[in-house]
């Protein structure tokens, strides 16, 4: 890796040297001048970003691991070294975090399993609807994308209100169509899961739909025409032209959605407060509580790494499966 960059770098100087070998002194001086002029500048261009990158990305990634090896409370002066105990404790069911952390991982997993199918399929339906020429198409595309530009805070307070069992818009209309039970959308299972999935679909559907739309427009129109000439029905052309053509885009959407759902925080924080009990408390919620409410940063850092490793393994598995299928 580094050999190749240094070769690139020295190429002009080397050419210079071979051309006038007799006056090597002045050449060396020249070369040094050339080199200095060309080498200082790139580093100066990089410097401001690298300061931020090293300070807030590179160092934290390693510093977090160091923290995880301590019993760390940032408000206390003494932070005893505990080795890997913060990790091994997580695998003991009688430890403080053992059961609760894995329960939060389970809640995260459940949300992924419940939400990803809808978040992958619904936007595809919308994209197929929008993938034809009709007046106002860009308007509709913008409408479906619009909720995505709102923050999770706005979406959260909105749904907390609209899903209120007594004064919420949803139960009000359900009552009108004859469902007289006040459904506890924000306080009881399984309703909380439906609420969290539905609001996430409403919020982020446009994002995936726009990615699909771009993918659909990349499929050559001639293939559809050829399929129609061969007598393919519209289902056939969806099954044998659209889906294969979308494969790389589908894989991308699937992976990105999976990771986004596994990082769900705001919806549960605002709408269900992790409840009922702790049933919708996600892993990220548990980590933030451990770190910022109980001041146990060592344990929280250890959990962060476990979650991160799980996410990396999941996306690698996902990548591997999808690549094997397409080959």
């Amino acid at each position: 890796m580094s050999t190749r960059t240094s070769r690139e770098l020295s190429a002009p100087g080397a050419a210079l040297a071979s051309r006038s070998a007799d006056d090597s002194r002045s050449v060396r001086r020249n070369r040094r001048k050339v080199r200095r002029g060309w080498t200082a500048t790139p580093y100066l261009f990089l410097l401001p970003y690298l300061v931020l990158f090293v300070g807030f990305v590179l160092i934290p990634a390693i510093y977090g691991f160091y923290i995880s090896l301590h019993d760390w409370d940032y408000l206390l002066p003494h932070k005893p070294w505990v080795g890997f105990r913060n990790y091994t404790d997580l695998f003991k069911s009688n430890s403080r975090d053992g059961a609760a952390f894995w329960q939060s991982m389970r809640a995260t997993g459940l949300f992924v399993v419940f939400s990803v199918p809808f978040l992958v399929a619904c936007p595809l339906g919308i994209a197929l609807m929008l993938n034809r020429a009709f007046p106002g198409r860009t308007f509709f595309r913008a409408v479906f994308f619009a909720p995505y530009v709102l923050g999770v805070a706005v979406v959260g307070v909105l749904f907390r209100f609209a899903l209120d069992p007594n004064i919420g818009l949803v139960n009000f209309y359900l009552h009108k169509i004859g469902i007289h039970r006040a459904i506890p959308w924000t306080t009881d299972t399984p309703w909380v899961w439906i609420s969290l999935v539905a609001m996430t679909v409403w919020w982020t559907l446009g994002f995936n739909a726009v990615i699909y739309l771009a993918g659909l427009q990349d499929i050559p129109q001639e293939i559809y025409e050829a399929a129609r000439v061969d007598g393919a029905s519209s289902w056939d052309s969806f099954r044998y032209v659209t889906l294969p053509g979308l494969r790389p885009v589908l894989a991308f959407v699937f992976t990105v959605t999976l990771l986004a759902s596994a990082n769900m925080f705001g919806q549960a924080f605002l709408v269900t407060q992790g409840g009922p009990g702790t049933s919708t408390r996600t892993a990220i919620m548990y980590i933030t509580q451990t770190s910022f409410q109980q001041y146990r940063q060592g344990a929280a850092a250890a959990m962060s790494y476990i979650l991160a490793v799980a996410l990396i393994l999941l996306s690698m598995l996902n990548f591997w499966v999808l690549r094997r299928r397409s080959s």
Binding site: L46, R141, A146, N263
Partner: protein
């Protein structure tokens, strides 16, 4: 043929219309509630039309002396968003130019490391960055919500792609005319890259404006909060006043909706490309 297609077309149009209504209805509900009195908002039967139309919630929210300093949060969010967007675009453009166009020792290692961090789940940075920000004395200040996120690799990656796609000829011509690297960057590359810079500015601002988890935990004083963090405290107040919460939601939404409408093409195009490239 035409007769066979028509019913499906009508069905499709109808479906699209219903879906559009479902998508817009929640937004209208926010707006409608924000103009209600608390009594009106919480009494059945619910109505889309406020009775009476009241600006009470907005007057409470926008008054400077209130318990709910939404106006203050608005300016905090605006300032943080602008500082962050300017910082991100400035440092990322410089770095991306070096990585796209300049030859130097270690270029591959730097770029490889930066890109590799894109694959590290963000949760890893949460605890250590909190402690770093604490050590810098930035907790509960605007620096906590503007500076650390500017270390992210996305903008560098995005702009490097953009710079890499520009034609080299203009830069070479400028060098022949005696321009140094800074002049090439400032006078030739940046003007050509304006659409990319605009997109990154909008994306950085939107991300910062909507960020939730981080500001909730690094800001404490009510006057220092951003809109998303403030909204969550409004909702968790002992007696939730929904018109006030929804007025806050309107204040938090209008700027991003306006920005989205203005920069719609850029925002949607950048999202659309992510799938095809990735």
């Amino acid at each position: 043929m035409n007769l066979r297609i028509r019913p499906s077309r009508i069905l499709l149009a109808l479906g699209l219309l219903i879906l559009t209504m479902i998508f817009i209805a929640p937004l209208l509900w926010i707006a409608s509630t924000s103009f209600k009195t608390n009594n009106d908002a919480t009494s059945l039967p619910l109505s889309w039309q406020p009775h009476p139309v009241s600006t009470q919630a907005y007057r409470t929210v926008l008054s400077t002396s209130s318990q709910t300093p939404v106006l203050r949060w608005f300016f905090n969010s605006l300032l943080a968003g602008v500082i962050n967007a300017v910082l991100v675009v400035a440092v990322d453009a410089l770095a991306a130019y070096a990585l796209a166009r300049l030859a130097f020792r270690g270029r591959r290692i730097v770029f490889g490391t930066v890109i590799a961090t894109l694959f590290i789940p963000a949760v890893v940075f949460l605890v250590p960055n909190y402690l770093i920000v604490n050590k810098l004395g930035w907790l509960d200040s605007i620096w906590a919500i503007t500076v650390p996120s500017a270390g992210g690799a996305f903008g560098v990656f995005f702009l490097r792609q953009f710079f890499g796609a520009l034609p080299r000829e203009l830069e070479e011509a400028a060098v022949l005319d005696g321009a140094n690297q800074w002049q090439v960057f400032w006078r030739v590359v940046l003007p050509l890259a304006r659409p990319g810079l605009a997109t990154l500015t909008v994306l950085a601002f939107l991300t910062n404006w909507n960020d939730f988890l981080w500001p909730v935990y690094v800001l404490f004083t009510p006057e220092h909060l951003t809109l998303p963090a403030g909204l969550s405290t409004l909702q968790n107040a002992a007696a939730t006043n929904y018109p006030i919460v929804m007025a806050g939601a309107v204040v938090a939404s209008v700027p991003v909706i306006v920005l989205f409408v203005a920069a719609q093409r850029h925002v949607i195009a950048s999202v659309a490309q992510s799938g095809i490239k990735g």
